[in-house]
């Protein structure tokens, strides 16, 4: 029976992804990698978790397999399944199996969104057994030393129905992220978008003010990623207030009065 696996070269990063360390997260991640400890990244949307993993993948010279988890993602989708190809039944490795076999970094983004059976699959990979059972195939894949499992988790979104169990949480080294301090966020914006000091400073001030509205009707504050989008539009020639409205205001709320107050904050800066 044929076995199909995706080419791991596809997941190797050729160019260094820009990442500005905020605290000691790089050292922590490296230590966890060398000690073969799985890592959990916690933090709000768009604060740089995925970019951080990409950066670490490049830094450690490991392939990176990212899986964006969603509510229909099953254990089979992660591990692999039998599929029909012409007259032949072939086994197709899932992304997790591909990463384990290649000894790369498997990054399960927003793991709580996936079905519960996926967490059962990752448990044997996260303790000292470091193995991945392929139940349907009756096979166990032993993870090589250089394999690392990373999950991300946004505590702000979680509810009673969607939360990681303690038996899962307590298998990971947690690295907490938040929005960068203003001066670092300005540096990130300039680096990512090419905006000048003045625009970067104004965008960060807007973000700082809008983030004050968390718990006052906004579920989450404006993310660094959205600020980067705003900067990119401005650099491309879009008028700053229009760019900020499209990236900072409209995506984060549908409440018209909230939108209007954010627009006023934007107008205060530009």
């Amino acid at each position: 029976m044929a076995v199909e696996s995706q080419r791991v070269e596809d997941y190797r990063l050729a160019k260094e992804p820009y990442y500005l360390p905020l605290r000691n997260e790089v050292e922590l991640f490296e230590a966890a990698y060398h000690q073969r400890l799985p890592v959990m990244l916690k933090g709000p949307t768009g604060c740089g978790k995925t970019r951080f993993v990409e950066h670490m993948s490049w830094r450690l010279e490991r392939t990176l397999v990212t899986v964006a988890c969603h509510e229909d993602l099953t254990a089979s989708d992660l591990v692999g399944k039998y599929t029909l190809r012409g007259d032949e039944t072939i086994w197709q490795d899932g992304p997790l199996t591909t990463a384990v076999k290649a000894g790369g970094i498997a990054y399960l983004d927003e793991i709580v969104e996936a079905r519960k059976d996926t967490t059962v699959v990752i448990h044997p990979l996260t303790d000292d057994r470091r193995m991945l059972p392929l139940e349907k195939k009756g096979e166990i894949v032993q993870a090589p030393d250089d394999f690392l499992l990373v999950i991300s988790y946004n505590p702000g979104y979680q509810s009673v129905l969607k939360d990681l169990k303690h038996s899962t949480k307590q298998r990971f080294v947690a690295i907490e992220f938040d929005y960068p301090p203003p001066e670092l966020e300005e540096t990130i914006l300039k680096n990512e978008t090419g905006v000048d000091d003045d625009v970067a400073s104004k965008l960060v001030k807007i973000a700082e003010k809008v983030r004050n509205l968390r718990t006052h009707g906004l579920e989450e504050g404006v993310s660094t990623r959205l600020l980067v989008y705003a900067g990119q539009l401005i650099v491309h020639g879009v008028e700053p207030i229009a760019a900020c409205e499209a990236t900072i205001c409209k995506p984060i709320t549908d409440d018209l009065e909230m939108q209007r107050s954010i627009v006023e904050i934007i107008a205060t800066q530009f």
């Binding site: 003010k209 004050n212 009065e257 209007r260 107050s261 954010i262 006023e264």
Partner: protein, 360 residues
């Protein structure tokens, strides 16, 4: 079972076997005779259709004519007797005594008709007819009386409700007048009176709303009069919708108010300003109108006091900007603790400053 063609418009069917038993040259006549007798009664037609083939087979037109005539005669006295006679007669025709059939028909006819009506029965019957006719003539009047009863009961209930709301208005009006600025009282009373005359329930709503509109200076007295006039038009069309109008619960009421108002109302932008100030200062801020100002100490150091109306400019956008400037000013004071200052802190502050900057 198969059926033959329909017999005229009687709606009756003759079984095909029955039709086949009739000599071919007499079938049309057979169907016509059945149709004619069926006109008297459907069941008669069915029975005659069954018996006729047997008589027609004897090729004696006189016998058939006699049969049909005798059946008709008995049926005229009662159709059920006619059906039974139609069934029995052909057997009686076969009897050796030819008078038997005629006697049988006479007996059944007499028995069905019964004795001649006596005078008393006729009189009673006539009286009953008259009474029944009179009752039929009375029916529309009885119906109308019932309608009037229902209508009057509804009016009575409505009047009761009206009186109840008038009492409520009598109790609510004095305290409202006490709260209303004296210069607005005369136009206010005129307007409430107009609404009360039309519908006391709506006037209860109007009394409260007009108090807010005039005291809050959201509309001028002339604007309030116009707003009431438009509301009365709505009330005339539909009481419930009109009451909604006077409690500012309808889109139309707000539109009219928007059209008549002077300046920008704080109420309409208070939440936006609150969010704006909260975002600027990073603290939960409350926006209050100066018209709500009854006791200064009731307000915390996180309150921003603004006028209930902003009417510096003609355009709402410019008035909003004026509000925004005032809000930003208030937010700045909140953020940097202007209102957090307390005289009781002075000795502590002096001591701290003395410790930091000792005299040489």
């Amino acid at each position: 079972m198969t059926f033959g063609p329909a017999v005229g418009n009687v709606g009756m069917y003759v079984a095909r076997e029955m039709l086949v038993s009739v000599p071919e040259d007499q079938r049309q006549a057979y169907l016509r005779m059945v149709e004619e007798i069926s006109d008297l009664k459907y069941q008669l037609g069915v029975e005659v259709a069954r018996q006729l083939p047997r008589l027609l087979a004897e090729h004696d037109p006189g016998l058939v004519a006699r049969y049909l005539s005798q059946v008709r005669a008995v049926a005229a006295t009662g159709w059920k007797s006619g059906v039974e006679v139609a069934k029995q007669l052909p057997d009686l025709y076969d009897a050796p005594d030819e008078t038997l059939a005629d006697a049988y028909v006479a007996i059944i006819s007499d028995a069905t008709v019964g004795p001649a009506e006596d005078a008393e029965t006729s009189q009673l019957s006539g009286e009953l007819d008259t009474l029944e006719r009179q009752l039929r003539e009375m029916e529309p009047k009885v119906k109308r009386a019932q309608e009037l009863r229902t209508l009057l009961a509804a009016r009575d209930r409505r009047d009761e409700k009206r009186r109840k709301h008038a009492v409520e208005l009598a109790s609510a009006l004095p305290p409202i007048l006490a709260r209303l600025r004296p210069r607005y009282r005369p136009p206010y009373l005129t307007q409430v009176r107009q609404v009360a005359a039309a519908d006391p329930e709506a006037s209860l709503e109007a009394a409260d709303t007009l108090l807010d509109l005039l005291n809050g200076e959201r509309v001028s007295p002339e604007g309030a009069a116009e707003w009431v006039e438009r509301g009365l038009e709505v009330l005339e069309r539909n009481k419930e919708v009109g009451r909604g109008y006077f409690r500012l619960g309808s889109k139309y009421a707000l539109e009219v108010l928007d059209e008549l108002k002077e300046g920008l109302a704080l109420k309409s932008v208070a939440r936006v300003l609150k969010l704006y100030a909260t975002a600027l200062s990073g603290r939960e801020v409350a926006i209050r109108g100066t018209n709500e100002l009854t006791a200064l100490e009731a307000y915390g150091d996180d309150h921003i006091l603004l006028p209930p109306e902003m009417r510096f400019f003609e355009e709402d956008a410019a008035n909003f900007t004026a509000y925004k400037v005032a809000t930003a000013h208030g937010a700045g004071r909140i953020e940097f603790g202007t209102y957090g200052f307390s005289l009781a802190d002075i000795p502590q502050t002096v001591a701290r400053l003395q410790a930091r900057y000792p005299r040489p």
